[in-house]
Point group: C2
Chain length 225, copies 2
C-alpha cells in the first residue's frame, strides 16, 4: 500500500490521523509542487486528480478519505473508529458528515475562493479553469458559524463528537478546527464546549503527529491562539 497526499490538505490529514489511531504504517508520497499543483506523474496516474489516494499493491486505487477509512476499518476493525452497532455507525456517520458539510466545506469555500494560488481553481479535481466566486467567502463563513454553534451544543452533551468514544467524527472535526487556524479563524469565545473537547483531544498522539507542518505558502502551520 502507498498513500499519495499533500501534507497540508485537510482530507489527507483525515487519513493520516486514522492510520495513527489504528497503528497502521503506510508509506506516503507527497504529490504537490512548490507552486501548489499536483505533480504530473501523479496526474497521469490518477484520473480524479485529487488527494488523498491509497494505492494497493495490485495497483487498485482508492480515492476519497471516507472510502479509504472504510477499506482500512474493514481490514483492521480494532480499535473501531466507525462504530460497531447499527445506531453507533449511523450516528458517527451523520456527525462526521455534518463536520464535513458545514465545517470542512465552509473553510474550503473561504480558502479556495480567496487564495491567490487558487485563481481559476475554485474546485478540486477539475483540469479546466473553475473561476473563484468571492460570494462564497461570506457563505463559507456562514457555514462555519453554524458548524461552531451546532458542535458546541453537541459537545455540551457528549464527551466526543458522536458520543462516548473517539471516532472518525472527531477526526474530521479536529481537522476542520485546525484548518480554521490556518485561515486565522479561532474557535469562537461563545463555544466553550468545543474548546474543552479540542484541548482534550490534543493529548492524543494521532492528533499532534498528523498536524501539517507548513501552510501552503511555506510558513509554519499555526496553532490555536
Amino acid at each position: 500500500m502507498k498513500l499519495y497526499e499533500w501534507d497540508f490538505a485537510p482530507n489527507c490529514r483525515r487519513v493520516r490521523m486514522f492510520l495513527l489511531e489504528k497503528g497502521i504504517e503506510v508509506p506516503k508520497e507527497e504529490c504537490i509542487t512548490s507552486n501548489i499543483v499536483l505533480k504530473d506523474p501523479y496526474l497521469a496516474k490518477y484520473e480524479h486528480a485529487m488527494v488523498p489516494m491509497l494505492e494497493l499493491d495490485d495497483g487498485a486505487q482508492i480515492g476519497e478519505a471516507l472510502s479509504i477509512w472504510i477499506y482500512l476499518e474493514t481490514l483492521h476493525p480494532e480499535p473501531p473508529l466507525m462504530g460497531t452497532t447499527a445506531l453507533e455507525k449511523a450516528t458517527i456517520s451523520a456527525w462526521e458528515r455534518r463536520a464535513y458539510d458545514e465545517g470542512m466545506v465552509g473553510h474550503a469555500e473561504i480558502f479556495r475562493n480567496s487564495h491567490p494560488k487558487f485563481v481559476d481553481r475554485g474546485l478540486p479535481g477539475h483540469r479546466e479553469p473553475v473561476p473563484q466566486i468571492s460570494g462564497l467567502i461570506d457563505r463559507g463563513k456562514l457555514r462555519v458559524a453554524r458548524f461552531h454553534r451546532k458542535f458546541n451544543e453537541q459537545l455540551s452533551r457528549n464527551k466526543f463528537v458522536a458520543g462516548d468514544r473517539f471516532s472518525v467524527a472527531d477526526i474530521t472535526t479536529i481537522t476542520v478546527v485546525d484548518f480554521g487556524h490556518a485561515l486565522e479563524m479561532q474557535i469562537p469565545d461563545d463555544c466553550p464546549y468545543v474548546k474543552r473537547w479540542y484541548d482534550e483531544v490534543q493529548l492524543r498522539e494521532s492528533v499532534r503527529q498528523s498536524l501539517p507542518t507548513h501552510l501552503p505558502d511555506g510558513s509554519p502551520m499555526p496553532v490555536a491562539a
Copy 2:
C-alpha cells in the same frame, strides 16, 4: 420507525430507493408545505432542519441519507447495497461520493441558486437567510459536465456504476440524472454509456416507484426526453 421526507428532495429519494431494493416497509411523513418550507412541527422536532430523517421507535433520530443507509444495511444486510469485501465497500463508497459531490451538488447549486422560492435559502438546514449566488449556477453546470464525462467513462467499462452489482452508487447516480430532468437537463448525446445504463436501471421497480410525483411547483415530474 418513521421516515420524514419531502417527496421531491433527491436525498429523500436515495432513501426510498434503498428501502425498495431491500424490501423494507417504513411509514413516511411528508414534511413540506405547499410553499416549499419545512413544516413547523418538524422544525421543532429536528434541530438540523433537513430531510430525510429516520426516527426510531425509541425517538432516536438518524439524519443524512448515507447514515440512514448504514443503519439499515447493518440490520438488513441482504441484498448488500454497500459491498461485502473491503475493496468493494471502498469502491462503492468512492463512486457514490463522486456522484454526490459532482452530480448532486452540481444540480443542487443550479436549483438552489436560481429557484424563486429559494431566495435567501441558498443552503439547506440554515434557519437564518443565506443569499443565492448566481455564479454558482454556472459552476454547478461545470460540475455536472464533469460528472457526465466521468460517469460515461466509468460506465463504458462497468455494467453498474461501481462494478458488476447494483449498489448505492447507482442509487445516487440515478437520483442525480433524474434531478437533472427536473431542471430540464438531459444526459448529453456524447455520453452513450450513461444512457445505456440509465435505460437498464429503469427496469427496476425500486427506480420507478421511488421517482418523485411532482416538481416543487406542483407540476408533474418530467421523464427523460
